[in-house]
Symmetry: C5
Subunit: 216 residues, 5 copies
């Protein structure tokens, strides 16, 4: 089948062993929240375990590249610490766990006991922000610097950074791209879902690339 | 609670052990001064001690990335000097103290004696400048180079650089964003407050990242 | 002969010993597919063997620079692995082979036995994507970051990265540049053909440059 | 005193021990010459000795970043050569002196004998060029690449590079910014003066930064 | 004499010992050919020997930065090879000679015997391309990436890269800037001449910079 629009047919990638970092800005929270939900939904569909997703936030989009870079470095530090000392590593993991609700914390704790929570370096980082054109030129300079900054981070670090930055002319465009537009609040397409599945795909392909294999 | 506008809900971060550098341009001084005041207010609200804030200025915004980079490097130099020789380090600190008024100098001296003034590397740098569109293309090229330059500095150095550059089409826009617009001179929202609290948040999160912890 | 338009007269370059990586986005699949076909046609015309072309995809164009960088690094890893252990290297090659149809897989296997399939680092990488202007500013920021990102990858890695990114204002422009416009679906010029022959030319010239020779 | 426009109040910085490099393009010579004069005037007012200013030119503004980088590297080479061999270093200095008129050459020679001419690395570099919008897009791409290029040079080398690039829509704008507009040829404000004093200020602050001191 | 337009008065620089690389795109061949002729004319006027000019081409302008980088690296490789083994080096030189016609080849061979052909690293590289605005955004993204790419190459490698990229809105603008406009085909000014003399000037100045001398 050939589609003119859309990301084309993707195979299903098994993300069950992946660890994913999400960094999001907090401006335009309603849109951000919906995008985050869409992202997590796609990660779950790809088999990524909830306890292997670390989510953090920064105030605005300009902070995304720096935070993406540091979060990844932090996951590397965590990984080497865990390797060095099993038990202490485990305790650190619990402290560092991004527990947005008690359910997932409990689940994480349980799976921890069975050794399933990962402290490996992230296989991909997803950076999410929403910029809306205002009356100054702030939008243009932020959007440009962040687009290049996220590109730099992934090329420097060798980890995929999924570009979840919406650069919008109106707020309505954001509602549509977060799948919460219209009278019933579920119009449009939630781009977070695309970002989540892109993270799984790139994370899996990256593992191949690291070993000299080309995973299609 | 979900807001459509604004930086969303931030937790309160304890900045009492942080050291912050502020670099600001001097063009459009009135706006700059108000932004500086807003920034300091938010830093204080975050618990950052006055003697642990180093403020410096440069003539124009194009100098901000270079100065931010050098100020941070200077704080690193200062830190290693202090570590090497306690007493001499202390004397150097006094000399290097950015003493904008005698009150804070006196306070700094007193707290110095009780060992509370920091000579550690900055936990965050805030870069503040005001660019207003003029009749040439100066505005566009400066704004673009500075936005990318500040991004580079933070990614190179691993220290958060808060983007306090207003890129305005009119002077009135600056007054509004400095919270000094309107007939009574207190209209609008002082963006410096956002920058100050962003510096505290990023400074605290960075400490976590350095140790492999994800502080939410 | 002097032409005012077009890439000028190129000599024929012998690509029979080259190994080429192709990375393409999947958005706007119909156009992408035609461009891929054009690219392969030109590679074949340049003598590049089908089993020495590795094709991979990513969801969107923003992922192209990262994937181009990693694919090239993967080919280097593969090369050193092959050199280290002949038999194991061979097995890895088969696994990593991008087998889009059984015919080429069979062919690859056969030629493998006669030792003709390459596991050398790629001589060039071709990055293919199609961006079409939409209602937000997504197009502009993606196109800009990807153009610079691909430029960086080739300058960092020392391998030519052919710029196969179409930055279009309308879908019709894409059909024309993929050679599938008009009522009969074969109008316009397939730019993939230019990219394929550019990859062969640059791949051959690069080998000269590596040895201090200037191949005209 | 608070000004809404202008670079704000700067303290007076003592530039008497500084060494400054000036690199300027030659396109739009009349404007360039006036800007150079303004720059030198401000350097003199800051106490920089004439023999400690090295001025060089390049044809166009695109060459400014490269030349700024190389001039600074050259001053470093010169410095280490001088340190290695006093007498030979001195001879080299005389040869390398940028002698635009015989007066300054004579003066340089005399002060050389009293040991006052510096062969230290530059404390700041000032890059001066004038770009005027023409009928092609040359202006836009040059201005953009040069703005980013000069930013890179200062961040790479750790030496301040003062941005003396005028990006103008009309020639008249240049005359005004060089202080040579109007019927009597002295209208407007000579921006070279700002650049000269910025170089002194940044040069002095940089010395502090190198030693872990914050000079306000 | 003071000119308001033009590159100002340049001294004459002696290019007789310089080695220059030229890389040009082939799109818009007629304009390119005229620019190449102008460039060579200026190089000859600067004393650069024909056998010390290496010319290579790439299909389009996007390839210019990569090719400029690799050509320069190739000249460095060639130089070290020549130094290592005289006779073998000579043979390599002949093979690598860019011989666009038999006359220059014969001349090169003769001068080779008298030892005048250089195998030193290039003193400057000239990058020539012609971009004309089309109906997509291809022009904008290519022009931007190439302008920054060439800037990077010269700052990375420390060799001047002369910016010979015409970024045009119409074909006629190209004819004028190549000196082949109008009914008689010699209208306008050939910008290649400026590029050739800039290469000689920068090449000579660079040699000074490398030794800590400032050649005016």
């Amino acid at each position: 089948m050939t589609l003119l629009k859309g990301p084309g047919e993707a195979r299903h990638y098994d993300g069950s062993s992946l660890r994913i970092g999400i960094i999001h800005a907090r401006w335009n929270t309603k849109i951000i929240d919906a995008l985050l939900a869409g992202t997590r939904k796609a990660l779950a569909a790809g088999g990524v375990k909830d306890e292997n997703i670390v989510t953090q936030s920064v105030p605005g989009s300009y902070e995304l590249p720096y935070a993406a870079q540091r979060m990844y470095a932090s996951s590397q530090t965590q990984s080497s610490t865990s390797a060095a000392s099993g038990l202490i590593g485990n305790a650190t993991d619990l402290l560092s766990q991004s527990a947005s609700d008690l359910t997932s914390l409990g689940q994480g704790k349980k799976e921890k006991e069975s050794g399933s929570q990962s402290t490996a370096p992230f296989d991909a980082v997803i950076a999410i922000g929403v910029l809306i054109k205002g009356s100054t030129m702030h939008f243009e300079y932020i959007a440009d610097a962040v687009s290049h900054g996220l590109m730099r981070v992934q090329l420097d670090a060798g980890v995929p950074v999924i570009f979840g930055l919406l650069t919008l002319l109106t707020e309505e465009q954001g509602l549509e791209r977060a799948g919460i537009a219209g009278a019933d609040g579920n119009g449009g397409h939630n781009h977070g879902e695309d970002w989540g599945s892109a993270a799984v795909e790139l994370g899996v392909k990256r593992r191949g690339w690291m070993e000299g294999r080309f995973v299609e």
